[in-house]
């Protein structure tokens, strides 16, 4: 651990404060629900105070029929297509969302909310518990993908959106898309789940457990009460992120990017410094992650993915989740994604076929691994554009402005 943190500059207190401030007073619109509108959780309890932070792009049409919900992945947030207030970096899906892009903000009213359990303004373990005036920490009940989706449905009710033209997302965002289609079929006209699965695999649960153990093994984690003690277990979370980041990339992509090249040196040092570029890169990934993410939130959101098994709620038959669905689906996977391999997408497609739903499915050739859904993949853009354009026509939405 000691070696790992060097030679990095520790996260400054100012950055820490900035990230923590986002949990309660984010740089986003928020909606707050009180005890009159409790959110019943799968854990068997109700949350009496729920805050949801969200961003919107584009404008709703008069009939409010052009709304698209974009669901973010594990460590994403609501800043899909604007500069991130903590990191200053572009939004995580600016490749796909924007004027004239496949998720065209001149055509669609795009909504993206921070998930329940997150740390960017929606109720999560770093939020203040109104009952105690202290951060929830581990007192927050464990949340599920379905809880996240139910919270999003409350947000849409608040925004006056009865029916979504489309729900789209990759990875954990894709799980939310599938849950939306199963829980609220009448509210979803089209669904675009990318690089995802209808259940989290044993291998993926195993990776998540490694990450959680890294967080909890950090002495500064303090049984989850670190915020009360005024510090943050950065080192454990950085290790968790490093391990996870490997799973987001393919062997080919790592090799193409770094190979066995050494970092700013001609010879190995015969020590445990970051000799290899790939080590230096991973350390950087870990360090930049801890500046924007709450360690407890990482525990909650990984747990939500682990618990996701859509078929389990439908007598073990995934097709039953989509029985009678009128939703149009477009499922996409990537050839080099070994975290959510094509077989996972194919299982979704087989279930949709068995339920008689309308589905397109394509496997996109890419060597970028799981992260491909966030990157420049022209084939994904063409497919998303074609699917959304034809769905928009079927939904009676006006054609895109000529460009």
């Amino acid at each position: 651990m000691e070696n790992l943190a060097e030679p990095t500059a520790p996260t400054t207190e100012a950055e820490d404060a900035l990230a923590r401030r986002e949990a309660d007073q984010p740089h986003s619109p928020v909606v707050r629900f009180g005890p009159d509108r409790p959110l019943r959780l799968d854990a068997g309890v109700a949350l009496d105070h729920v805050q949801i932070a969200y961003q919107t792009y584009g404008e709703p049409n008069a009939a409010r029929t052009n709304a698209m919900l974009v669901c973010h992945a594990l460590t994403g947030d609501q800043h899909a297509a604007n500069a991130n207030p903590v990191t200053g970096k572009p939004g995580w899906w600016e490749t796909l969302v924007g004027p004239g892009k496949p998720i065209d903000t001149e055509r669609f009213y795009v909504i993206c909310a921070n998930v329940l359990g997150g740390c960017m303004g929606t109720t999560g373990p770093a939020s203040l518990n109104p009952a105690t005036g202290q951060p929830y920490g581990l007192d927050l009940p464990v949340v599920t993908i379905r809880d996240m989706v139910n919270a999003q449905a409350m947000l849409l009710d608040h925004l006056g959106i009865e029916r979504l033209f489309c729900v789209a997302g990759g990875s954990m965002g894709g799980m939310q898309v599938l849950q939306w289609a199963a829980s609220y079929p009448e509210r979803v006209f089209a669904a675009l789940p990318i690089a995802t699965a209808a259940r989290h695999s044993a291998q993926n649960i195993a990776f998540h457990e490694v990450g959680r153990q890294a967080v909890m093994a950090d002495p500064e984690w303090a049984g989850g009460h670190y915020l009360k003690q005024g510090h943050t277990p950065h080192r454990g979370l950085a290790v968790a992120r490093m391990a996870a980041h490997i799973t987001y990339m393919s062997d080919q992509a790592l090799h193409r990017k770094f190979g066995r090249r050494l970092q700013n040196r001609a010879l190995p040092t015969f020590g445990f410094d970051a000799d290899f570029q790939v080590e230096s890169y991973l350390r950087h990934q870990g360090e930049s992650f801890v500046q924007r993410f709450d360690p407890n939130s990482y525990l909650y959101v990984t747990r939500a993915m682990d618990y996701f098994d859509l078929a389990a709620d439908y007598d073990g038959v995934l097709a039953n989740a989509f029985r009678g669905s009128k939703t149009r689906f477009c499922v996409a996977s990537f050839t080099s994604d070994w975290l959510f391999p094509t077989e996972d997408s194919r299982a979704i497609v087989h279930a949709l076929n068995a339920s008689g739903a309308s589905v397109s499915f394509t496997e996109i050739d890419s060597d970028k691994g799981h992260d491909a859904f966030l990157l420049h993949e022209p084939e994904l853009f063409a497919i998303a554009h074609g699917f959304l354009d034809s769905a928009a026509k079927a939904a009676g939405l006006p054609a895109a402005r000529g460009r």
């Binding site: 194919r346 497609v349 087989h350 008689g356 496997e363 063409a382 497919i383 699917f387 354009d389 034809s390």
Partner: protein, 217 residues
């Protein structure tokens, strides 16, 4: 043989760019029906059925390029292998299941045909006729496997592993105990062979054939 149909010389809709067998197939499909095209290629038939027949047309295609081209055009296509993935569709899911110029490339033609008749209330199959006089001529005179516009590959790099003749196909239909509702043979210029000719003439003059089948319930 009443099933063999006199086809109008001019199909209802004519697209100069569309293969003639696709037009014959489209003419067999009732408007606004649910259709699955197995081996949908670039989606030409799906497009034709959706635009001219108002069908809910879906495709299954093996090649990634074909699928991506189709989905990017807004068609409903899944990437999959007919030899495996047809098993996942429920009974009677479609009004028609179509296999155009693909039967000869399947690993299990009989199984594929059985699945088509299970999934769809009707099946439409078009295939190149290996019994066409040109094929026989190439074999008989030159002693070489035939290479034609419909069968453009050399034997060593062809995806076509299960060629059959019209008579062979009719025998399979009997084995499957399916009902032949319509049959059309097209000559090398794409014109239907006259319907009152005997089978052996069809088998000689038909460069390709299109069959409309249903279950003998």
């Amino acid at each position: 043989m009443a099933v063999r149909e006199a086809v109008q010389d001019e199909p209802a809709v004519r697209f100069s760019s569309v293969r003639v067998d696709l037009m014959v197939i489209a003419d067999m499909v009732a408007p606004r029906s649910r259709v699955l095209d197995v081996g949908s290629g670039d989606g030409a038939l799906l497009d034709l059925l959706a635009t001219t027949r108002g069908c809910d047309a879906r495709g299954i295609e093996l090649s990634r390029e074909g699928v991506n081209a189709g989905v990017a055009r807004g068609l409903s296509v899944v990437q999959g292998d007919a030899d495996v993935d047809l098993a996942h569709y429920p009974d009677d899911a479609f009004d028609y299941v179509i296999l155009s110029q693909t039967l000869q490339a399947t690993r299990r033609p009989r199984w594929v045909m059985e699945q088509m008749l299970r999934i769809g209330r009707r099946a439409i199959v078009s295939f190149p006729n290996f019994g066409h006089w040109r094929s026989r001529f190439d074999l008989l005179i030159y002693g070489r496997m035939p290479i034609t516009d419909n069968m453009p590959y050399s034997w060593y790099d062809t995806p076509n592993i299960h060629f059959c003749t019209i008579r062979d196909f009719v025998a399979l239909v009997e084995v499957l105990d399916a009902r032949m509702e319509k049959a059309v043979a097209l000559d090398s210029s794409g014109h239907p062979v006259r319907f009152n000719m005997p089978w052996w003439v069809w088998n000689l003059l038909g460069e390709q054939a299109v069959f409309l089948l249903s279950r003998n319930d």
